[in-house]
Symmetry: C2
Subunit: 359 residues, 2 copies
Amino acid sequence: MNLIEDTVAAIAPLDEAAMRDARDHQARLTKPPGSLGVLEELSVKLAGLAGRCPPPLPEPAAVAVFAADHGVHAQGVTPWQQEVTAQMVANFLAGGAVVNAFAAQVGAEVSVVDVGVAADLDPAPGLLQRKIAHGTADMTLGPAMTMDEARRAVTAGIEVARDLVADGMGCLITGDMGIANTTASAALIAAFTGLPPERVTGRGTGIDDATHARKVEIVRTALARHGLPDDEATPLDVLAAVGGLEHAAIAGFVLGAAALRVPVVLDGVIAGAAALAAAALCPDAVGACVAGHRSAEPGHAAAIAELGLRPLVDLELRLGEGTGALLALPLVQGSVRVLHEVATFDSAGVSGKDAGTRN
Amino acid sequence: MNLIEDTVAAIAPLDEAAMRDARDHQARLTKPPGSLGVLEELSVKLAGLAGRCPPPLPEPAAVAVFAADHGVHAQGVTPWQQEVTAQMVANFLAGGAVVNAFAAQVGAEVSVVDVGVAADLDPAPGLLQRKIAHGTADMTLGPAMTMDEARRAVTAGIEVARDLVADGMGCLITGDMGIANTTASAALIAAFTGLPPERVTGRGTGIDDATHARKVEIVRTALARHGLPDDEATPLDVLAAVGGLEHAAIAGFVLGAAALRVPVVLDGVIAGAAALAAAALCPDAVGACVAGHRSAEPGHAAAIAELGLRPLVDLELRLGEGTGALLALPLVQGSVRVLHEVATFDSAGVSGKDAGTRN
């Protein structure tokens, strides 16, 4: 199984010439220079990712909702039952969740990928059955995954990205579902950034002060159990120790997108933690990443800061599923559409800034 | 001409019962309570505006780009020639501007309304010819408009809103074009908020320090010339003294939308200044307003703070035309779509928070 190494080897830095072309083209368009703010640099990055200007329009788009359960749920980190993971997967497949509503709004497809739901799920349209294990083990007692499981989950994510791009998708979007997955996210973010657990552990779906305090201690216990942060640990070591199966799969999804030079819009804290793992495996993978939004989770802000990404939407969302990233999709697409469709000063016969004497 | 007074009289407060229904419904949906952040309250507001839950989906949408010139251009507040207003109108009508690209991205129609372009424009598809004057007069020398012109411009905006809603539009979006219009916007915002000119006067399309300093002084001179701020001045007095024809028209557009209980997504600083005028004419008009984005202009942040609105997109845009508001449209539509399409815990068979004993 060399797909991980082969994928990492295929990831190239952003193409400087294409980025220069995009900056030059932006300057000729019929608008004041710089007036599209953050979206101008985004279009330049996507030109660099594609290796040409204009880059292809990032469409159609697909959100892959990676679902898995977490052994650390047994430690009482959330008031939600573990069964809700499988119940919400059924809700996604029936089209009844917010991810479905937002995907319909922005014209994206929804796939659900079972990489580790505790329950056995029946086959269904839209469900990709890639179960690696029936949830992770409790990271406070031992590794969440074996190294083999971690590698297989990363590989599954690479393959999902590859298959979606082969199906014609021009933009990938991360989604996630897994009761207790903000606990694993906090542990991963602490391990990859070196920040203390209390700085990166949030309230997830909404927990009280006592549960939050317990959650911070559980993250601290898990990190201590595995000697993290540890400069000697490989990214796969870290994923296996304290990650979730969906984190490993999303890390692979990011690597797969980057290798194929297709943008991947990251959702919230789960994707942020997974992207840190992807970046640790291959720093150039960040070139394919767009931070769809900044969630209300404190660890998420830390993760995207570490990745050097600027979030596009910032509305105190903390739902997950891919919902924040889906809302950012039209912004990503709009930024590229400008390079395709907007007239230049010359072509439109519009006088540029300072064209005449100031009157 | 009593359309202004009749429109103001038709504007009602948000419907409390519909808002309560929307809050109750949000709490039953298959997501953690509050996890959609700012979008939950937005959906509640739009239910209150419509007077029912769920409110209609805010679609289709149309952006009306109100175009006008400004006599204060003669004071040297910008390096752009006045002719660019008409040139950009031609660009909009040819489909070559960023507003066209973003409208195509989000599925909105574009109308251009000439309420005061200095040049005479030929009829064209998509151009609404409602010219009140060939630009305003220089506000540093006298009133920008006569009271009759101001009233006619407000009336034109009401009529454009009415006609678009009659054509089936479920969401209106403000757009604007007019070289020097950030100068008039700063004067309006200073007059309506009482903030000093240096706090609300920005760099518009991008001006150097010397031009910016001159622009601040010109705003100060204009306000002093007209004795503003002045608690005794009516909103129409303020518009006539220092406003633009497009500001007056957009104020009417907001009033028209509010009277018809249709949401209006505000673009940047020009719309913010105009909405202050609308709110001064009828405070309940703010109930129809959604702040599409926060622009890089300092006066814009002041205006939306005064209106009590929270911007949806915050990406350092400073283009105008309606571009920032268009990017927010999918967020507005998504917030309402949740109320229509997302399953409840009961209907989807998903266990709610605290459904079992904490394990």
